[in-house]
């Protein structure tokens, strides 16, 4: 709620003008019964034709003014709602992009997408409706009551009683049904899950002949849903009949009291008609209001979900880019390690156990470091620390002798470049994908990156070369091509530290070898970290770390590890035993 107001702050003018004109419209509408009562009391009673004409003209003028103010109100409210939502969308997008990896893990991407799209659309609808309709209803309801007071005090008391009773009914029914509707949604989700499972698991379910059992499960869930829907329907179906009976009960009271008042001369017949009209107007407004409240509660629910995202402060802070840092530590010191992990551990938020524990690792300029281990052994976690995608839960990470937490983000980005396991490319040209918003990358740099990543061969066959259009999800590239462009993008950043996180799995052996040779040859200055499950991919490395269950169980070069590290040997043998077989097979 507060958050919505913050975005409407700069649209104050619109937010005030819209309800104001709505109020004008309502006021003119409230005059109508008065005019009608004049027609009855003066025009008809005195048989004054000219007066009736005058009054009717008055009605038309009121209608025109009403139309004009209503259109103005619609305009301002649309402007406010859309302006506010546009700004909110921008801020939310910017905010989401500023969060840390930990935050993304916790939130999940699909949630973020719904927040940005449908939630904000709902909020926009909500604001719009509140500005132009939600305020109109109270105007009419209370306006009608005030007008009643101007006519007769005692009659107005009927309004004073009726309105709160109506409010209790409308809001009461809503309060009762809201949690029930949520429950309906939960039950529907269950039905959806079962349907989905029966499609994704169709082969398994049929292989085990579980169709009947699944069918019973579905029917039960569906039955549950149906029962609850009917219960909710029974309660919310009371809303219209109840409001109807109360408003008309009010009218009976009005006429009853009116009969005595007219008899005693305190009230005229026309005035009774006017009071009756006011009561009818309340009914019409209430029906509209009831429909509106659903939209508004939905919008409020969406707003609180959006606000939750806004309330997440990035769990990672970076030092500001300052001159002090630049001069002091940006020159490469030859005697300092390029990067170093000191007793570093990482426990992802929400996990109870460390993913990596007490890792010590020193890499010098130009080193090629290999990391090997089974799935879940913590290989990627090491990369996550060096790139500061996550902060170490204990211990520290240093780059060029500086604690990574003291390095401004811009510096860190230019020093460390990561090629992640999952190849992600965006729709756009190859060039756009490789430069990725960084304007300072020349075509020569791109060319070099393409050569090293072994993309040249397939890319030169693509129409437009660097301007070849990659479509959404990169469906027009094969898995291996995607991986190679992914690697090219990391190399194009011209980093001092390059991390390749198991990102060549789809490449055939020869290409993979050519890639590694090119890295050794052309990126000799760059400190490279290669993560792999294949022992063969790490043969060029001057230091290999073997991870098991988050701990370093071996460190050294290939020969040393074969002798000293049983897990390394196990991995190596499991992969190379096939080869021994092959050699025999080949001889056959």
């Amino acid at each position: 709620m507060k958050m919505i107001l913050r975005y409407l702050e700069q649209l104050k003018k619109e937010c005030v003008l819209a309800p104001l004109f709505k109020m004008l419209e309502a006021i003119f509408e409230l005059f109508v019964p008065l005019v009608v009562s004049q027609i009855i009391d003066k025009g008809i009673a005195n048989k004054d034709m000219a007066f009736i004409m005058k009054c009717s003209l008055m009605l038309i003028i009121l209608a025109i003014i009403g139309l004009a103010s209503s259109i103005t109100a619609q305009y301002f409210s649309a402007k406010a709602a859309i302006g506010g939502a546009t700004k909110m969308r921008h801020s939310l997008y910017e905010h989401i992009l500023s969060l840390s990896f930990t935050d993304y893990d916790e939130l999940g991407t699909s949630t973020l997408i719904t927040r940005l799209t449908s939630d904000i659309n709902q909020i926009q609808n909500g604001i719009n409706l509140v500005l132009r309709l939600f305020l109109r209803s109270p105007f009419i309801v209370f306006g009608a009551m005030i007008m009643a007071f101007t006519i007769d005090f005692k009659e107005a008391l009927v309004f004073v009683v009726t309105i709160p009773v109506l409010a209790v009914i409308v809001f009461g029914i809503m309060a009762i049904t809201r949690p029930m509707y949520k429950e309906v949604q939960n039950k529907l989700d269950k039905v959806l899950l079962t349907t989905r499972e029966n499609l994704t698991g169709v082969r398994v379910i049929r292989a085990f002949n579980k169709q009947k059992k699944e069918n019973i499960r579905f029917k039960n869930e569906n039955q549950d849903l149906n029962k609850l829907q009917r219960v909710v329907g029974r309660i919310s179906g009371l809303m219209n009949p109840l409001t109807y009976i109360i408003v008309n009960g009010g009218i009976i009271a009005l006429i009853y009291v009116g009969a005595f008042k007219v008899n005693s001369g305190d009230l005229t017949q026309g005035q009774v008609v006017a009071l009756y009209n006011y009561m009818s107007q309340i009914l019409v407004e209430l029906i509209k209001l009831a429909n509106l409240i659903i939209t508004v509660t939905k919008a409020l629910a969406c707003a609180s979900r959006v606000e939750n995202v806004f309330n997440i402060n990035s769990s990672m802070e970076f030092k500001k880019l300052s001159d002090k840092y630049d001069t002091k530590s940006d020159e490469t010191k030859e005697n300092v390690a390029k990067f170093e992990l000191r007793h570093a551990s990482l426990c992802y938020k929400g996990n109870s156990e460390n993913s990596i524990t007490d890792i010590n690792l020193v890499a010098n300029k130009g080193d090629m470091i290999g990391i090997i281990g089974g799935t879940g052994s913590g290989k990627t976690s090491v990369a996550n620390l060096i790139s500061r995608f996550y902060d170490a839960t204990s211990g520290s990470v240093l780059i060029d002798g500086v604690n990574i937490k003291d390095i401004p983000r811009e510096r860190l980005l230019s020093k460390v470049s990561v090629c992640m396991q999952k190849a992600v490319l965006f729709s756009g040209t190859v060039r756009e994908n490789l430069t990725f918003g960084r304007t300072d990358i020349s075509d020569e740099t791109l060319e070099r990156a393409i050569n090293i990543s072994q993309s040249k061969e397939f890319l030169s066959k693509k129409e437009g070369y660097l301007d070849y259009m990659i479509n959404q999800g990169a469906k027009n590239l094969s898995g291996g091509q995607k991986q190679r462009l992914n690697i090219a993008r990391a190399i194009a950043a011209n980093p001092e530290i390059l991390i390749l996180d198991d990102c060549s799995s789809a490449l055939d052996y020869a290409t993979d070898a050519a890639l590694r040779n090119a890295i050794v040859r052309d990126l000799s200055d760059v400190t490279t970290v290669i993560i792999s499950q294949r022992a063969a991919s790490l043969l060029n490395c001057n230091k290999i770390i073997v991870l098991d269950d988050g701990k370093v169980v071996g460190m050294g070069n290939h020969e040393e590890l074969l002798k000293s590290c049983s897990i390394y040997k196990e991995i190596y043998d499991s992969q190379f035993s096939t080869n021994t077989d092959n050699k025999n097979g080949g001889v056959n």
């Binding site: 109807y244 026309g270 950043a493 020869a510 499991s574």
Partner: protein, 587 residues
């Protein structure tokens, strides 16, 4: 949707609604009572007002009688409207439930061809979202369309009963509001179209950048995306403003027309009242009618779009419900003693009619033999699984299990003779136990644990907070790929069927877990006929028959030595996949 198709769909809807005949007729009856009572109230109020003429001119006894009548009528409205609402609920939710049940029944009987050929998302949205939209439309149609029409007709009749001349004026003027609404809708249509196009563009950008957000952030490219986003956002603002503003003109415009009608009634009614044509009370009732008269028109036009939408959705649901199901197997044999021999003779198969996939395929498998299926990725190794499990039927020739054509055996009997572990592991939401006992519901605790132990899954299961009774989410939830695969093997281990279909692919699994899975597979295969989609050289070499597949076709078959001698595709495949790696890795 063509007019004829619409009619057909409508007929089917009515057919489903007809099951609720009683509720339906009660609902209609109540709707009629509600509308008549609601319209009678202003008449009564007008009459009451006519008894209150002025000072000393109040006919109290008649006022009271009329007020009591009003009270009775509004209680009538209350009761009839509530009953109507309940009937409508019963019909709508009932039809919804029936449709979902019907759709699900069909899903269980659909041939795999349909399920494979349509996206899951699409089928799910038919069962969930389409049914919901349809229900909304149906409910609105009932509550608003029917009562709306009744109200219009009733209002005109009541107005004519008071005064025909003013009624004629009202009836002539009301189309104005419809024309207004129509003009505005036409005008705002283009803006809406542009709005939704731009919205789509923005969603695509959001989708892409949020899904790839880690990559994006790892290169510090946020600014580029914020700029692109803002550009689209600004365009969206412009189009949305137009669309929303134009469409929001409908209400004030129709209200204005309504006010004009009101003024006309006031003039003409006033003039008539002076001449004694109608009474003041009658004028008051008339004004009240005029006030409410256009409302049902607006509602009906809303309902019509809503109904159009509902019919489209219903059409999609019926499409699913009316899909041809698998051929029934009710009269087939319930084979129990299956020894594990399989015979394929002159099998012909293709997924589509125009391209032949498998032609004249013959294979004789004896009990306990191992058949390895090899070929490059995407060669259609699953095709054979599809045929053996009778997920698809052969187009020619026959497949025999223990000498029986599989088309003469009940599907359930055939399928329980096979144990299947696919590369894409599938677990259902529920407990680990639920998943393991899928094949053998009555397994004892000891049997289950024994199966877990011999398939190496017990190690991780016992570490879970609730052991076998740990709940896992949709598709295995938090379990790793390796753990899921082990569970699928455990499941088969417990079932212990005479024949196996295994997909060896373990690309997502690390080497150490893979070794365990390998052991589990080996244990499982002991003494069983097995069909293995093979990736490991040792499996291939030890197989009794190797089927070499390429582009969906079985191109060679024989054992390792025979195939190498044949000097065909197998040899090339063998050399490229295994020998090359050897050379590379030792250099």
């Amino acid at each position: 949707m063509s007019q004829n198709k619409k009619k057909a769909v409508l007929a089917k809807i009515l057919n489903r609604v007809a099951r609720y005949k009683l509720s339906l007729s009660l609902s209609m009856l109540m709707a009629i009572i509600t509308v008549i009572c609601q319209l009678y109230v202003p008449v009564l109020i007008g009459r009451a007002i006519d008894y209150i003429i002025g000072k000393g001119q109040v006919d109290f006894s008649n006022v009271f009688v009329t007020l009591i009548r009003i009270a009775i009528v509004i209680i009538g409205v209350f009761i009839s409207q509530w009953i109507m609402n309940m009937c409508n609920n019963r019909i709508t939710y009932g039809v919804t439930k029936d449709l979902r049940d019907e759709a699900f029944d069909k899903i269980e009987k659909l041939p795999l061809k349909y399920i494979d050929g349509n996206s899951y998302g699409d089928i799910v949205s038919r069962v969930i979202a389409d049914v919901d939209t349809f229900a909304d439309g149906l409910l609105m149609g009932f509550t608003q369309f029917f009562t709306g029409v009744l109200t219009i007709v009733g209002t005109i009749i009541f107005m004519i009963l008071i005064d025909a001349r003013i009624t004629a004026l009202v009836v002539l003027l009301t189309p104005l509001s419809l024309i207004c609404a129509w003009l505005i809708a036409k005008k705002s249509f283009n803006s809406f179209k542009r709005q939704s196009e731009t919205r789509g563009e923005q969603t695509a950008l959001i989708d892409e950048s949020i899904n790839g957000i880690k990559v994006l952030k790892s290169f510090g490219s946020e600014q580029k995306y914020i700029e692109e986003f803002d550009e689209i956002n600004e365009r969206l603002r412009e189009y949305s403003l137009k669309a929303v503003f134009f469409s929001s003109l409908t209400n004030p415009s129709t209200r204005f027309v309504n006010s004009l009608v009101y003024a006309v009634v006031a003039i003409s009614g006033g003039v008539l009242a002076i001449n004694g044509g109608i009474s003041v009370g009658e004028l008051a009732s008339f004004l009240s009618y005029a006030n409410q008269y256009t409302k049902p028109f607006n509602e009906i036009s809303g309902v019509i779009t809503e109904l159009q939408n509902a019919i489209v959705c219903a059409g999609r649901i019926f499409e699913l419900i009316e899909e041809t199901p698998e051929i029934t197997d009710e009269n087939n044999k319930d084979l129990t003693d299956i020894d594990g021999s399989v015979n394929l003779s002159q099998v012909e198969f293709s997924y589509t009619d125009d391209t032949k996939l498998i032609t004249d395929f013959n294979l004789d498998v004896k009990k306990g033999q191992r058949i390895a299926i090899v070929g490059p990725t995407g060669c259609g190794k699953t095709t054979l699984i599809n045929l053996l499990m009778r997920f698809y039927d052969v187009k020619g020739g026959s497949i025999k299990i223990s000498g029986n054509d599989i088309r003469d055996i009940k599907r359930s009997a055939l399928r329980s003779a096979f144990g299947m572990v696919l590369q894409e592991t599938w677990l259902k939401s529920g407990t680990i136990r639920d998943n393991i006992i899928m094949a053998k519901e009555d397994a004892s605790e000891e049997e289950i644990i024994e199966a877990c132990k011999s398939s190496y899954s017990w190690g991780f299961i016992k570490k879970l907070p609730k052991g076998l009774d740990t709940e896992i989410g949709e598709d295995g939830g938090s379990l790793s790929a390796g753990q899921k695969q082990l569970l699928c093997i455990t499941r088969i281990m417990l079932a212990n069927p005479p024949m196996l279909i295994l997909d060896e692919a373990t690309s997502s699994i690390d080497t150490r877990t893979e070794l365990k899975i390998q052991d589990a597979f080996a244990k499982l295969m002991e003494g069983k006929t097995s069909f293995i989609v093979a990736h490991r050289l040792s499996t291939i070499k030890n197989a009794d028959v190797i089927l070499v597949m390429k582009d969906g076709n079985i191109i060679e078959q024989g054992n390792h030595e025979e195939l190498l001698k044949a000097n065909g595709f197998y040899k090339t495949l063998y050399e490229s996949q295994f020998i090359k790696a050897t050379k590379g890795e030792t250099c």
